[in-house]
């Protein structure tokens, strides 16, 4: 498997804060890569730096054979990267249809793809003409994901899609992502819910204090509780 995206030595400063302090990891073509880590570790900053929403002060971001560090956000998006931010970035005053129309850069929405999307997220069909602000949290998240893939994209960056969602909706979300996986979509997904990450991820990178502290395949991490505890603080039995 070749690498679609590779970060090497990426540094990002926001104001006076040095958030990313030399980040290195790769996202293999056609797989799901999970970016894990505690709050404040720099995961969101990582995605924003790839999107060009923050400028990397040093390092390379190679995407599909070109260094995209320093390119403007629209230029990065036009290369075929879709982005679902943590806040979801839904245009609340626009209808569901308008949200998707805007996301279809190349003209009218492809009907077949739309039908497929309605299959994944039936709620979008139901509320087609409703302002997106009226959707529930889960439905908004679905719209945000649908918006990022209304046209084929080479890579999707998804920031904490399960945040604040009920278990039933998370289960639905897992199904939708599995369906996406069958279409050979490449995804880089930031997550805190380890169970969710484990059920979807092929490879994994763990961040702490602005650096990658572990990377490898998901199976290895999932099977090693001591490693999970060390990296993520995930343990129930540790101090009993």
């Amino acid at each position: 498997m070749s690498n679609l995206l590779a970060l090497s030595g990426v540094n990002t400063r926001i104001g006076h804060y040095h958030i990313l302090q030399g980040v290195d990891f790769v996202v293999p073509q056609g797989g799901f890569t999970m970016l894990l880590g505690r709050n404040g570790a720099g995961k969101t900053t990582c995605l924003r730096t790839i999107m060009g929403l923050w400028k990397a002060s040093a390092g390379r971001i190679d995407f599909d054979g070109a260094d995209i560090a320093g390119r403007s956000t629209p230029a990065v998006a036009q290369l075929g990267i879709g982005y679902v931010p943590e806040s979801m970035g839904i245009f609340a005053g626009l209808t569901v249809r308008e949200n998707l129309t805007l996301a279809a850069r190349d003209g009218p929405i492809d009907e077949k793809r739309l039908d497929w999307m309605f299959g994944l997220f039936p709620a979008l069909k139901k509320f087609w003409h409703l302002p997106a602000g009226h959707l529930s949290g889960g439905q908004k998240q679905m719209l945000a994901i649908a918006r990022a893939m209304i046209e084929p994209r080479k890579l999707l960056l998804v920031d904490e899609p399960t945040k604040g969602l009920a278990p039933a909706i998370i289960a639905h979300m897992v199904e939708a992502f599995r369906e996406l996986k069958r279409t050979d979509t490449t995804i880089l997904l930031v997550e805190q819910n380890f169970n969710f990450a484990r059920s979807l991820g092929d490879t994994v990178a763990v961040m702490d204090s602005g650096r990658i502290v572990h990377s490898g395949n998901m199976g290895e991490l999932a099977g090693n509780e001591a490693l999970q505890y060390r990296l993520l603080g995930l343990s129930l039995d540790a101090h009993q």
């Binding site: 104001g15 006076h16 804060y17 040095h18 505690r38 709050n39 404040g40 570790a41 609340a92 602000g133 009226h134 959707l135 529930s136 949290g137 904490e160 945040k163 604040g164 969602l165 009920a166 278990p167 805190q192 819910n193 380890f194 169970n195 969710f196 204090s209 603080g233 995930l234 343990s235 129930l236 540790a238 101090h239 009993q240």
Partner: protein, 259 residues
């Protein structure tokens, strides 16, 4: 503040506290009482409403339903500044300082607020040596004395968190609220913070609320754990009991499939 503060009287209570943002209920009907000399840890997955619950208590947000009482007095309508004056002190998750003021000045302003001298228009601030000395004392407690003349914006992340705590100490509150005090800190900086929280706790008359992700931190410090999930209070009790309860296993840690 003249109310008795024996262990039985709650310092702070929330009654059916609720806030909605549009269609989303971020905190839903949370009723809970916090007693002095108790450290309560609030845990829950990301987006469970922990920080929002904090914001409702410290006054950064107004609830859409329910009440907050401090020593039995309804403070739901009070702005954040008045709650601070009544003894609720809060450290923020994302560092939130006066970036272009010196480290000492950041703390001195908090000391000055606690001394109630903000509306003193006609004395020279540098003449109030006692305020400056107290500020220096708090800087010493968080081990920041050497950086006293640095601009707050020029501090490293860990030092900023320490300054955040020095400001909190300077307010000398009855109720301390820590929102992930160790987030983003390097491993060697964490003990300083934990020791500080421990010191506050051992003073005996303080009420402490702590939002924290790291379970080892929580279980070593907390007298009590409450669990928020989807904005609702789903578990409340002794740390060991709460951690072992199935609902927490599933809701919080997402480890239902724990092989």
């Amino acid at each position: 503040m003249s109310e008795p503060r024996s262990g039985e009287h709650p310092v702070l209570e929330t009654h059916g506290l609720t806030i909605r943002f549009g269609g989303h209920v971020a905190v839903n009907q949370v009723s809970c009482a916090f007693r002095p000399d108790t450290l309560t840890a609030i845990v829950g997955p990301n987006g469970a409403g922990k920080t929002t619950y904090f914001n409702l208590i410290s006054g950064q947000l107004r609830p859409t339903g329910g009440r907050v009482t401090l020593y039995g007095e309804d403070i739901t309508a009070l702005p954040a500044s008045q709650r601070t004056r009544r003894g609720i002190g809060r450290a923020f998750q994302l560092t939130n300082l006066f970036p272009q003021l010196s480290v000492l000045e950041n703390v001195r302003l908090a000391v000055q607020s606690h001394a109630g001298m903000g509306l003193n228009l006609f004395s020279v601030w540098s003449g109030h040596v006692e305020l400056i000395e107290r500020a220096e004392h708090y800087l010493h407690r968080v081990k920041l004395t050497e950086r006293r003349d640095t601009l707050a914006s020029a501090l490293a992340h860990g030092d900023q968190r320490k300054l955040e705590l020095a400001i909190l100490l300077a307010l000398d509150p009855d109720l301390f609220m820590f929102d992930e005090p160790t987030a983003g800190m390097s491993v060697d900086e964490v003990p300083v913070i934990l020791e500080l929280i421990h010191e506050i706790k051992s003073q005996g008359d303080k009420t402490i609320l702590l939002v924290e992700h790291k379970m080892d931190v929580v279980s070593s410090l907390a007298d009590r754990i409450i669990v928020l999930h989807q904005g609702e209070l789903v578990a409340d009790g002794e740390p060991a009991t709460v951690i072992a309860s199935p609902i927490v296993q599933q809701a919080y840690l997402g480890l239902a499939g724990h092989e």
